[in-house]
Assembly symmetry: C4
């Protein structure tokens, strides 16, 4: 679908198509049901602007008008666009990290249950898995990835500030993603392919962790 | 497939196509196997008429003649149509609620097992999940959705009366859906998109509840 | 793909296409992996002849030459055809029941595990499920379907005789299908649509039974 | 996509297409997520040369340039090709067995968890399953397949030597595949169809073993 040159989405056809395809796959797998999830791409850096899924759209059938262009304040760059998701600021805080070009939020049953089971520890450690090498910069299974779990809230600015502090903290290695309790996963990458790989890696490892907890050793 | 102007389905081609697509997806996910499930759309309001899947059809391969138009009494509006499902009155009672345009009944293994596990309490509480915001009018995860569970019966008029009383009761908030024990889910929405979103939300949350019961905390 | 008039498969193009489509779906769901499973249709009754999947073919990608026509002795009706499955006689014994037009054997992980868990009782009872109404002639969830479980063996003539005796026994109601321990399901119907519905019903109910055993009540 | 005659991939179009299709299916099933897994075909025997997936490619969307041709030393046969996977030597050691034409490495959550649960025994026994007959040369369910489990390491030459010794040992029957702990499955066959059948057989049986451990007998 061509977009008028004056549209804030002008020239973003291939990015939109890539997010549509991504959404269809995640929805098919059960990671983006019920209009949950949001996906964004960095389309300008100075100042920061994101192409973001609009609020409440069906991720299995994203149309070309189910997107919005927002600035670093989380507000649409121009009038007449659909409403941005309430969680836009979480995309902004993730996108502000160095070298990040795409941010993906998914919402699987596995992540929902695991984030609740492990909430007392405020995180889940993923360690000793070969699949960890799918995370950017990890080159051995002998890696321990700490995935922080934040309590869920509807106060997104407060949560965004809390997440931002954790992402920029110096006490621990910068995480590749985090969970919100009973809510889902946020992860990112230098481009959509890397962010999508991170989603697949995390969802796979969450599934391993949850299945491990439901099985008994021989 | 064009439909003769005199057919009770005349002019309903796009609604039928939408239900076919919905059925294929639910069947693919295992929510409508074995010719289970029924789907309906409100096509007239005064008096109420529904476009409904005919009895016993394969939901993964719904043909254009696998539908029937019924009135508020659950009876086809004209002769020569396929037999309506035995559960037609459950669609009618749901469709009579204010603002309802679509009613979906699905039949997943998860809902079947969970409705049995929780039958002693006559319901299951879904609380504290972000996904609850996919239910119309819910704007926080700090919501407790009580999903009533009714005992299964082949006496559909009696069950429809029982359901109708529960939906119109004033003691509790109006539910967004209900379970029939060892049978499945009924939910609805102002249109098919909303009803389908509700199916996805409920099936997701049932899966969370069931997986939670099969895992052990660390 | 047209078939030479002299071929034993001449005129069976639509039946072959229907079995190919069925195989692809079962393979996709994980019910016919690893070249497991066999499907047959009754193509002549007096004497009995079956159109049957040939031995060892990939059920997700059945070609038009992956079928064989066999007689009641389980032997191909003419030379030059592919080898029939070792389990051909199990298809014959099921097809000999009155009114049977199609026989489907599937091989899911769920049926494999459940048939082992319940082998001491030599059967599994499926009772109180609405989905039971998907079995031909069952009109209430208040039905108890006894699914016999036979010990697995490579002596198919002996197993066929044992199954035949059970199917024709008068002590209990004729079953709609049976399990072979750690092997899978045999079911049938008056035509392919009914047999396929029975596969969906049984696989759904096996999944319910197995998930029930892995969950804890609240 | 045609390939220049001088390319090391010249003439391998159909083999590449077959691996692309295989990768898409494995990715869809969750057996090759996050760019995990590697697939290879023997394209020359004397000396041995393999067509292999290049390092770090998305197995759900393999392009025609996501492959590399390597020799028995695991090094690309000519300059200008993509980087070969770090695990190339594991493909070589498997392909050196007599009659092997294809080697597949998959990486499912099931194999990951099971290989960890059973690591103390350094293997998992798969016995008494009809599905075992899907392994080449096995003609009865009364077969016990010992699947060795190797500790994971990033020292692939050392692991390849260890695997090679196990595959060529005379103390036990030659296995049809092996697991690397918390990493995944390696299996092979005389051609891609047989190797793929072995993947389906092993993944099915791993699923059976893991589900069995999560269920309780009645």
């Amino acid at each position: 679908v061509p977009t008028a040159a004056s549209s804030p989405l002008a020239g973003l056809g291939s990015q939109i198509a890539a997010l549509q395809e991504c959404g269809h796959d995640f929805w098919r797998r059960g990671w983006s049901l019920g209009t949950s999830s949001n996906y964004s791409l960095v389309v300008a850096r100075d100042p920061l602007e994101l192409l973001l899924t609009a609020s409440g759209r069906d991720k299995g059938r994203l149309g070309s008008d189910d997107f919005v262009r927002v600035g670093a304040d989380g507000v649409p760059t121009s009038a007449g666009q659909p409403r941005a998701s309430a969680e836009t600021l979480l995309h902004v805080v993730a996108a502000r990290q160095p070298g990040v070009g795409a941010v993906l939020h998914t919402h699987s049953a596995t992540a929902t249950v695991l984030s609740d089971l492990c909430s007392a520890a405020a995180g889940v450690e993923l360690a000793g898995y070969e699949m960890l090498k799918g995370l950017a910069g990890v080159d051995s299974h002998q890696h321990a990835e700490w995935v922080p779990i934040f309590e869920n809230t509807q106060d997104i600015p407060a949560l965004a500030a809390e997440v931002g502090a954790a992402l920029n903290g110096t006490a621990t290695a910068r995480p590749h993603g985090y969970l919100i309790r009973r809510h889902g996963l946020y992860t990112w990458g230098r481009d959509l392919a890397e962010a999508r790989r991170h989603v697949e890696v995390f969802e796979f490892l969450f599934e391993c962790e949850l299945r491990r907890r439901g099985a008994t050793a021989p």
